[in-house]
């Protein structure tokens, strides 16, 4: 009997979108044919997405990677004895030594792509549930203080200090409190939340459980976008496993405290990623924005004090509790502490997930990690922070990844997505799309957003078709100002930002053609 070989083929949406399922089937069939004993592990993705499907074998206790592998490569890989890490043109060497990965600081993503996402044993063997184990020994006040000291700020977009939010919920009056995880991940160019949920679901469950114990909330919801069917399936399975193991339910880890968790599927409205709209949606209503105050932390879901946090925020909590506030805070720069999960997307040569301490420049990300564009042409623009984020011009690429530094150039880090465009991009069309998107996704509550965005599409159309170009350019500036000043929430209030960035940095594209 030949030795048992472990082969890893990701079961992640992007890996599958590039053919991972076929590769997994081909490896199983070829192993059968050759009477090799192979155990296939469907791990998550390491996030080197340009190499997907990237498979790994364990040889001599070290994981070796090959990629991108197509079904047709499989016989040749066996011929090259890849099961013993044999040489092959697709060979990438020991996975952890691939420079793109080795240069990262994977804290929140420590297990992503490493473990079988639904193996609780592997989760524990790789440091999982150490944070919660510590939490059950602490007072609520101590838990919240550690999160505050870590310097963690919300990764969903607004970068609000997480510990401050938790303290408000802890101090709020209420017999029932909630933890609502924002897994709506609507920004184009972002997939970090999806990766956590597909590749390491227990870290989100652990983080939410810690949040629950920290403020005395007994019920949590994951508001998960409907566009992520695989993440929904995996999260639901993981919740079932955690319940069976006594890590969710009436007596969490023997603490005597209850915490229950449920996935709620969203239904394709971008605005429902805004926290008050999300709460309306969780209540089964139209996702219309609520006036603030009251803050959700005081009067949130069903009127009760509610922690609303992004997936990455919550998934960063277990390691902070396990390793201590200092450990996390020592990464980063200025008031941006810890790590940022950058997502390189669009027209980029080496796209994927880069978790790294704050402070690196945009250029380092785009060049050292990204390797420039996929098309090999010069980069002309990068949209940072999703559809409401400004287009960043190459003259600004030396800006460090730091919340305040980005704000300084009229941009935002948001959820960490960087969408790269080459020099064939038509920035006039990008400006028009920003307004069109706002028009499609407006919740309709206030006029500057609802009507303004529709007008914006029209005005840009007129500029591009040469109808009173200078008059309409002035009108467009005015319209942007009105939307920024008069909108109730950041959809209408920020949708003009990408438009203004085009007016400022790419005026040659916003004119008659």
């Amino acid at each position: 009997m030949a030795a048992e070989h472990r082969v890893f083929v990701p079961r992640d949406t992007t890996a599958r979108s590039m053919g991972a399922d076929g590769v997994a089937a081909a490896i199983a069939a070829e192993a059968d044919r050759r009477e090799e004993s192979v155990t296939l592990v469907r791990n998550g993705s390491r996030g080197l997405y340009w190499l997907e499907p990237m498979i790994e074998v364990e040889a001599g206790g070290v994981r070796h990677a090959y990629g991108p592998v197509q079904t047709s490569d499989v016989p040749a890989l066996f011929n090259a004895d890849f099961l013993a890490a044999g040489r092959h043109a697709l060979g990438l060497g020991p996975t952890e030594e691939i420079p793109w990965l080795a240069r990262q600081s994977r804290l929140t993503f420590a297990r992503v792509g490493v473990t079988d996402p639904l193996s609780l044993d592997e989760y524990r063997a790789h440091g999982g549930y150490q944070g919660l184990a510590r939490v059950v020994e602490l007072s609520r006040d101590e838990i919240v203080s550690i999160v505050t000291e870590s310097g963690l700020r919300g990764r969903g977009g607004a970068a609000f200090p997480t510990g401050v939010k938790w303290r408000t919920v802890l101090n709020a009056e209420g017999t029932q409190k909630y933890v609502a995880c924002n897994a709506d991940e609507g920004d184009s160019g972002t997939f970090a939340d999806r990766m956590v949920m597909e590749s390491d679901p227990f870290v989100l469950i652990e983080g939410m459980t810690i949040a629950g114990l920290a403020v005395g909330a007994t019920q949590g919801y994951v508001y998960l976008r409907a566009e992520y069917p695989l993440a929904i399936r995996i999260m639901n399975e993981a919740i079932g496993i955690a319940e069976t193991a006594g890590l969710l339910g009436g007596n969490v880890m023997g603490s005597g405290q209850a915490f229950n968790l449920e996935v709620r599927e969203a239904a394709g409205a971008y605005i429902c990623g805004e926290e008050t709209s999300m709460l309306e949606s969780l209540e089964g209503k139209r996702g219309v924005i609520r006036f603030r105050p009251p803050l959700p932390a005081v009067k949130g879901l069903f009127g009760a004090p509610t922690i609303v946090n992004n997936v990455i925020t919550l998934a960063s909590v277990p390691i902070i509790l396990a390793e201590g506030a200092d450990y996390y805070r020592d990464y980063g720069t200025g008031r941006s502490r810890g790590t940022l999960t950058v997502q390189l997307a669009g027209n980029v040569k080496r796209g994927g997930l880069v978790e790294i301490g704050f402070g690196r420049t945009l250029r380092e990300l785009l060049e050292d990690f990204g390797g420039g564009t996929a098309t090999g042409r010069p980069i002309r623009a990068v949209q940072a922070g999703g559809p409401l984020g400004a287009y960043i011009h190459p003259s600004q690429f030396d800006t460090p990844l730091d919340y305040e530094a980005f704000e300084g150039i009229g941009g935002m880090i948001g959820h960490g997505g960087l969408v790269v465009f080459d020099d064939t991009v038509d920035m006039g069309e990008q400006a028009r799309f920003a307004m069109e998107f706002c028009a499609i996704e407006s919740c309709g509550k206030c006029t500057p957003c609802r009507i303004g965005a529709v007008r914006g599409v029209e005005v840009i159309g007129r500029i591009l078709s040469g109808d009173d170009e200078s008059g309409n350019l002035l009108l467009l500036r005015d319209l942007c100002d009105t939307m920024i000043a008069g909108s109730l929430c950041a959809l209408g209030g920020m949708a003009p930002f990408p438009v203004i960035s085009v007016l400022d940095h790419y005026p040659e594209d916003l004119r008659a053609r």
Partner: protein, 161 residues
Amino acid sequence: MSGAKNANGGADAREALVLRIARRHVARPGGLLPALHAIQDELGYVPAEAVPSVAEVFNISRAEVHGVISFYHLFRTTPPGRRTLYLCRSEACQAMGARALERHAAERLGIGFHETTPDGRISLEPIFCLGNCACSPAVMIDDFVYGRVTPQRLDALLEED
């Protein structure tokens, strides 16, 4: 996001099904969205006839139920084709040719967004980001996502049945 499991069956059977689903979800806090999802999972869409039944079970007005259905882009009120093609229209996909892919799909299928081919084979829907932005442009067919989709690859995917 899955297709219809019970697209056939008479109006009575459908009404019974809708009532059963609504009753199963009414006691859950915020149960209306899960109920509508469950109806759409079973029937492929939320038919107009479902609105009064859901309203009655949830003890809210028909206008409220209709308001919720119409607010969310992914609830549909007409039967879908046998397969649904969701084309990502967002920026990371635009950067890799999504606009051209959009034109190609519309031309090849002879329909626009929110329409179904006359033979009932394919519905075409826009979608705003599938989280596949590092391997764009992306499309989803029913609930499977495909990356780096060229017009040729799209044609091949649409040939499969």
